[in-house]
């Protein structure tokens, strides 16, 4: 094992040294992208990319004229289908089906939601998922940092400059510039942090909103914030862990590896690095006592002490039930807090935010039970939208950190299902236009073709987002006594089905032991005092 580790270390070091030939001693071996491209193709010199390109699909056609299998690879990926089968439960999931307590369902809101789709033109349910010209290559492969899909345009970027007033922004129109597609097409390359981040940092409708451990601070993080992605850390990009095989990403939330049993990922293996063990192995610590934890405690639990550490707050609560309030001017109300975050939006309701948030901890064996829009729900209690499975006795489960997102969202009080809420659009039913739930839910359910009783209410929901990014340097790992403590606010106070040294004890033994020690000390003192007193008497005689 040790030999193997040394061998891999040496190989990595060798590769890094070669890549940085003769630049003198450089701190830790940089596994990430070298600043100087080592690509064998200069795309700016290619005939096919001369352009000029007026639209996204035109660029895609040009890309596919050489990369002639890329389109079909992408069309199999979840980035395109927004649909996947859970490998553990067999349930059909993905953005299309799984419910969440952020924006809700993309159904009937496609034009807005698909600004994060790896394609062009998904504006309604008739989108052609088989046309490879609709694949968006640039979202992932732009290296200029200037490509941007425009919010309300169904996955397209702007093709001409446009004046636009964002719903929750300051009043008044703002000019949005169209990106230079030709220049971008000529400067494509491997995806960097900003490419993935354009969508994954902005999930839930804005920077840091959804995940808590993914936000724009990771574009250029300090070592403190993310030891892997920091320039003075390992300088890695997302795809160094989330390795892609034929455009299929690894490390999906819907198919998580709660406990890696494979360990080091070698060239002969499956090129899936999306676990800590892929690079760090099973025994990464010098001390055996700490390695002993890896069986039951996920690496993330100790190595990500808090999430939202990059100075950008994440949403912790979203209460849709209060949406629709108008200000004294009769216009929709938007209120910002002292930090400039919207704390109330007429379109979306009330929000709560948090920075440097301590995660909640739960057993997790990789099996999630997401509620889909069609599932019958129990409205007598808080609805957990994606219960994670696991317990101390489950050999596949480990204790994982989670951001628990809390909220209140609309549901059908008769049929007991969640609902599709039609929020976005220029029509006469969209919530964000008319602020009328009765209309927007009815329209959403009709569009989705789902049964709706016409009666709606709001149900309290919570959702588990496991925390796996923003890994801190080892010296910032959670100190042992934050779990091994009797304090009521110990990190693992919710994990009650294990014996945790330092927290748990046997009351009878403690009582007996306490009495024994008190008896020993008290007995000695008493005996001694009597001795002193009786001696005095003797001496006085």
């Amino acid at each position: 094992m040790d030999h193997l580790r040394r061998l891999i270390g040496a190989a990595l070091l060798g590769a890094a040294l070669l890549a940085q030939a003769a630049e003198g001693p450089v701190p830790p071996p940089a596994i990430g992208k070298a600043e100087i491209s080592s690509s064998t193709t200069d795309h700016s010199k290619l005939e096919a990319l001369k352009g000029p390109f007026k639209t996204g699909p035109e660029v895609t056609k040009a890309c596919l004229s050489c990369h002639n299998t890329a389109g079909h690879q992408v069309m199999k990926s979840i980035h395109w289908t927004w649909e996947t089968k859970s490998p553990t439960t067999g349930k059909t999931l993905g953005k299309k089906w799984a419910a969440n307590n952020f924006c809700g369902s993309p159904l009937s809101n496609e034009t807005r939601c698909t600004s994060c789709h790896a394609g062009y033109g998904w504006t309604d349910k008739n989108f052609d998922f088989t046309n490879q010209d609709n694949v968006d290559c640039l979202a992932c492969h732009d290296t200029t940092g200037t490509y941007k899909k425009f919010g309300p345009d169904g996955g397209h970027p702007l093709y001409a400059d446009r004046e636009f007033e964002p719903m929750e922004g300051p009043p008044g129109k703002k000019l949005f510039k169209a990106p230079d597609l030709t220049k971008i097409a000529q400067h494509v390359g491997q995806p960097g942090r900003a490419n993935c981040g354009a969508c994954h940092f902005n999930g839930g409708g804005g920077d840091a909103v959804k995940h808590g451990d993914l936000d724009s601070s990771l574009k250029n993080p300090s070592r403190e914030l993310d030891v892997h992605m920091a320039k003075d850390g390992a300088n890695m990009v997302c795809a160094d862990c989330h390795t892609f095989n034929a455009h299929q990403p690894s490390g999906s939330r819907y198919a998580a590896t709660a406990k890696d049993k494979h360990g080091f990922d070698l060239p002969k293996d499956d090129h899936n690095h999306a676990t800590c063990e892929s690079c760090h192995g099973f025994t990464p610590h010098k001390e055996a006592k700490i390695n002993n934890h890896t069986d039951k405690v996920a690496c993330q639990t100790c190595h990500i002490p808090e999430f939202a550490r990059g100075g950008i707050a994440t949403k912790l609560l979203w209460d849709w039930s209060t949406a629709g309030k108008m200000g004294p001017d009769g216009k929709p109300l938007f209120i910002k807090d002292d930090h400039g975050h919207l704390k109330y939006s007429a379109a979306k309701g009330d929000f709560k935010y948090g920075e440097n948030v301590r995660p909640e901890y739960k057993w997790y064996n990789g099996i999630v039970h997401p509620v889909t829009i069609t599932d019958k729900i129990d409205d007598s209690k808080v609805l957990e939208l994606n219960r994670v499975e696991g317990s101390a006795s489950d050999p596949n489960a480990r204790i994982w950190p989670f951001k628990v997102m809390r909220g209140k969202q609309a549901y059908d009080t008769e049929n007991k299902t969640l609902v599709v809420n039609h929020v976005f659009g220029d029509d006469d039913t969209a919530l964000w236009k008319h602020y009328d739930y009765a209309k927007s839910i009815k329209a959403g359910m009709e569009y989705a073709g789902l049964p709706y009783s016409g009666k709606f209410g709001f149900i309290e929901t919570q959702m588990n987002w496991f925390i796996t990014h923003m890994v801190a340097p080892k010296e910032k790992a959670v100190p042992c006594q934050e779990c091994h403590t009797r304090a009521a606010d110990g990190r693992l106070s919710a994990i009650t089905d294990i014996y945790l040294p330092g927290r748990d004890s046997n009351q009878l033994v403690d009582l007996f032991g306490g009495l024994a020690i008190a008896g020993a000390i008290g007995g000695g003192l008493l005996h001694g005092i009597v001795r002193i007193l009786s001696r005095r008497k003797e001496n006085a005689k």
Partner: protein, 202 residues
């Protein structure tokens, strides 16, 4: 009149005091691991506790060898003879300045009560602490050894704690009893220098 006898040999004194230090370290760190207080931090406490345990085990390996090669192990053979007299001394005689019923010699350095106490320590408390302690130390290997299903950390830890309470109680009684020599510090002095003043045989 009294005479001086050389009662604790050099190795014996080294053993006693290094063992005392290690046990004190293990009591302090052990009860921190138990969660009784926060002093060094859990990690340091565990590290120090384990280090002290391994050191004491090594010390014991040498000591057992010493006990057998020197024949000193016989000092721990129990005898019920005169136990009654010892109990009477500690409960009555000591207060009335009665003479100590036990005459310490080089070949009999422990009084009958001491012999019983040390035997209890060796036969009951030590195996309890060491047995559970070794399992605790090697918790990470339980699965490999195939004992993870039949043994629970809770059982091991609770029994270990029980042993810890008992040795701690023993420690305090032991320390108190060192003051019962002919002067308060006579016994401690003997354990440092090796020489003890004993009454001449009457």
């Amino acid at each position: 009149m009294s005479e001086r006898i050389y009662i604790y040999k050099r190795y014996e004194r080294f053993w006693h005091w290094s063992q005392a230090l290690l046990i004190i370290v293990m009591m302090i760190t052990g009860f921190e691991v138990h969660g009784s207080y926060l002093l060094l931090g859990f990690k340091k406490a565990v590290q120090l506790h384990s280090l002290a345990a391994w050191t004491l085990l090594t010390l014991w390996a040498f000591t057992i060898f010493w006990q057998f090669t020197t024949g000193e192990w016989r000092q721990y053979l129990p005898s019920l003879k005169n136990v009654g007299a010892m109990i009477k001394y500690y409960t009555v005689g000591i207060f009335t300045n009665a003479p100590h019923p036990f005459h310490k010699t080089v070949s009999q350095k422990h009084n009958p009560l001491q012999r019983l106490a040390y035997l209890a320590l060796l036969a009951f408390i030590s195996p309890l602490i060491w047995g559970t302690g070794i399992f605790y130390l090697f918790y990470g290997d339980w699965a490999r050894l195939g004992i993870d299903q039949s043994l629970s950390l809770e059982t091991v830890a609770v029994l270990h704690t029980l042993g810890a309470y008992m040795i701690t109680a023993f420690f305090f009684i032991h320390v108190y009893l060192t003051t019962t020599g002919h002067t308060v510090f006579a016994h401690i002095k003997a354990m440092i220098t090796g020489w003890e003043e004993v009454d001449e045989k009457h």
